[in-house]
């Protein structure tokens, strides 16, 4: 593995029995990322369950309940590396009741792989998966038309699914969609090129993942630095040191940049950018650094350092696409803790504008209750201003979660519109 290799995070979505776990098993198996003792354990279980050969899906089913029921009920993370890239897979379940897990897996992904069963084509669940991928602004979607072996590797079936998918995706905002005909079970076009589908000129899935251009997916324009904590070493050599520690959310910060601290509005200049390995001249997303300023300003966790000529909006009223994640429905006008970057405030859901019918993707105006897995557009009011960008422009400064103070649980996740 080379030193300049990048990390690519992808999520997989598919309906029950679309062969998602098999696909992941296949990727790991054919890229030689599965160890002998793992394989042995899986072989043993496959035999015990009476399967023919090795059931590759067993690699991704980790918890006792899942192994018993043969389904994936939670997000599982898998890792593999090729000479070109390191990959993190968020394997998420496809059932309707697990929309929240799909959203969790999608929130950090560069790429979404959506599986479609070649025999059934685009179904309601596919629409939901595509919608979630576009809602979460995953920059790239790869539609894998799976089980091509069961439709005699026919090109017209592949074309038909593409047409069906284009019909739904044309209404969504996705920059980059690709289609690959595969058989996860047989291994066609996953790692190795299929010998059965000469008509397909594109690359197999793994090659596509290895070569996809992802470094321009991060917002490099708007410099945003949410302060996590203040470093005051108060030891020899650093008596007056006041470093603002954080991770660059987007954009680039340079020494001597004119900056504004929000929400206070104080201005200053960046004096130094520090890391353990020494001072650097510029920091960009997603680097973790600490920053010192020319002037002594009162700054604490939750504040945001931005370039003075490019500021986010400071507001107490936001509109959010909200996904409800918890069994307990939202209480009308209830107060929650809202977390936005390192900032935490009290918040209230003031109004449910509309709800989205996850099956038709249409708007529902007469049902305002927020229940588990519901996606709705809501208006939220906060006790103090948040420094926000729209989620479309900035995944880090455009996202929030709500925490229920009565249970401390994370109950909702939102994207600022």
């Amino acid at each position: 593995m080379l030193d300049n290799n990048q990390l690519l995070r992808f999520t997989t979505a598919g309906s029950v029995d679309d062969g998602k776990s098999t696909l992941i098993g296949r990727l790991l198996y054919d890229s030689k990322s599965i160890f002998e003792d793992q394989l042995e354990a899986i072989e043993k279980t496959s035999k015990k369950k009476g399967h023919n050969g090795v059931d590759l899906a067993l690699f991704t089913d980790g918890l006792r309940d899942e192994r018993e029921q043969g389904i994936t009920i939670d997000v599982a993370y898998r890792y593999f590396t090729t000479p070109k890239r390191k990959f993190i897979i968020a394997d998420t379940p496809g059932h309707i009741q697990y929309t929240r897990n799909m959203i969790t897996g999608a929130s950090t992904a560069n790429v979404a792989i959506i599986l479609v069963d070649a025999r059934h084509g685009v179904i309601e669940q596919t629409k939901r998966h595509a919608f979630i991928a576009s809602l979460l602004r995953i920059p790239h979607i790869i539609v894998c038309i799976n089980k091509m072996d069961l439709v005699d590797f026919k090109e017209d079936i592949f074309d038909k699914v593409i047409n069906q998918f284009e019909e739904i995706s044309s209404k969504m905002l996705v920059k980059d969609i690709r289609y690959i005909p595969i058989s996860a079970l047989k291994g066609d076009n996953v790692v190795n090129r299929s010998k059965q589908m000469d008509w397909y000129q594109g690359a197999p899935l793994l090659h596509t993942l290895e070569t996809m251009h992802i470094s321009s997916d991060i917002n490099k324009v708007d410099a945003r630095f949410p302060v996590q904590t203040v470093l005051r070493p108060q030891r020899e050599g650093f008596i007056d040191y006041r470093g603002y520690a954080g991770r660059v959310a987007s954009g680039v910060l340079r020494v001597n940049d004119e900056i504004t601290v929000m929400p206070s509005g104080f201005t200053s200049k960046i004096k130094t950018i520090n890391t353990f390995d020494g001072e650097i001249q510029e920091a960009f997303a997603p680097m973790s650094v600490s920053i010192t300023l020319e002037d002594d300003i009162d700054i604490s966790r939750g504040d945001m350092i931005v370039r003075s000529n490019n500021k986010p909006e400071a507001t107490q009223d936001i509109e959010v696409m909200l996904c409800w994640l918890h069994n307990n429905p939202a209480k009308p006008r209830a107060k929650y803790t809202i977390r936005h970057t390192s900032n935490e405030q009290k918040a209230m859901i003031k109004e449910v504008v509309y709800k989205i019918d996850i099956n038709t993707l249409g708007r529902v105006n007469d049902d305002k209750e927020l229940k588990m897995n519901d996606i709705s557009k809501v208006k939220i009011h906060t006790t103090k201003p948040l420094m926000v960008d729209t989620y479309r422009e900035n995944r880090t400064t455009g996202s929030i979660i709500l925490v229920d103070d009565a249970t401390n649980e994370t109950v909702a996740a939102g994207m600022i519109v």
């Binding site: 599982a76 590396t81 969790t104 950090t108 030891r235 954080g246 680097m287 880090t396």
Partner: protein, 301 residues
């Protein structure tokens, strides 16, 4: 290609530093669970980076089974001195002596499970609200589902089916009195990433990881080191082999592999060619298919 991108190791490092700073900001009394193994050493290295030029703001907590490699304890004491941090030791031996846990019997007896009680006692008596661990999701299938911020109830138990969703980089460490969190900053690292990073940063690790000659016995397809705790079976025989350890745990259950890798470069090369997972040499994971999940539910690391 633009110069504004991080390579995979820098991105993993930045993510871990972000998590460690979140822990410091969100908890009152966090500790690093320090076993003396490479993953917990890596965590302390990352903590050094996260808070520089301040010193590490966490104490180290060691759950001492009493069945240690001397080298590990030596290493632990050196690092505590170097960093100037407090060391909290939870002793399994004491728990046995006080009758709070009972020792397993027989050839394959280990103190592995007994660590759970000691760990939870140490967390409770020191009012720890967050224990930072070096667990990685690639280690084991139950760990693949673990969150970065993992909630534990007042009995220290993990409820894998009812975990808090974790989206973007928004981590929720809120908890009630008596509950605590386990936080895993290197969740997304693989064994290979750990070695590549240790090599790149030239982090010092116990000599046990490097190939060395040692008295061992062949048991369950691995080389178990000779120690005062080893009970030999009739057919078993102590031999001298050049071995190294891929993980360090209790001396009674940690198997070594035959190896000539005596430098970080050679280890990284060897690991990249490995066909067995590192925990493949840990008999504690082989007890049942869901051995790790079962222990984790009860409060294991």
């Amino acid at each position: 290609m633009s110069k504004y991108y991080l390579n995979y190791l820098d991105e993993l490092e930045s993510e871990a530093i972000f998590i460690l700073r979140e822990v410091w900001a969100q908890f009152q009394n966090p500790v690093i669970l320090f076993s003396g193994g490479k993953d917990s050493i890596l965590i302390t290295h990352l903590a050094k980076k996260a808070f520089y030029p301040s010193k590490i703001p966490f104490s180290l907590m060691h759950v001492d089974t009493g069945h240690n490699f001397h080298e590990t304890i030596q290493f632990r004491d050196n690092i505590v001195k170097e960093l100037g941090v407090t060391l909290i030791v939870g002793s399994v031996q004491e728990a046995i002596d006080e009758g709070r846990v009972a020792e397993e019997k027989g050839k394959n007896a280990t103190r592995n499970l007994l660590q759970i009680t000691t760990l939870l006692d140490a967390i409770e008596s020191n009012k720890v609200d967050c224990a930072i661990g070096g667990g990685r999701r690639d280690e084991e299938k139950a760990r693949a589902k673990e969150r970065f911020f993992s909630h534990r109830d007042e009995f220290g138990q993990w409820d894998p089916k009812n975990q808090r969703p974790e989206l973007w980089n928004l981590f929720n460490g809120k908890h009630f009195e008596g509950e605590h969190f386990r936080v895993f900053p290197i969740s997304n690292w693989t064994e290979m990433d750990v070695w590549n990073y240790i090599k790149r940063e030239n982090i010092s690790i116990p000599s046990l990881y490097f190939a060395h000659e040692r008295e061992v016995v062949r048991r369950d397809n691995t080389w178990i080191p000779n120690s005062e705790f080893l009970i030999l079976e009739d057919h078993e025989e102590i031999v001298i082999k050049k071995i190294r350890f891929r993980t360090l745990g209790d001396i009674t259950i940690t198997g070594g592999i035959e190896s000539n890798a005596d430098t970080l470069e050679k280890i990284a090369l060897e690991v990249s060619a490995m066909r067995q997972t590192e925990r493949g040499n840990r008999s504690d994971d082989k007890r049942s298919e869901t051995a790790m999940e079962d222990r984790k539910r009860q409060g294991y690391f």
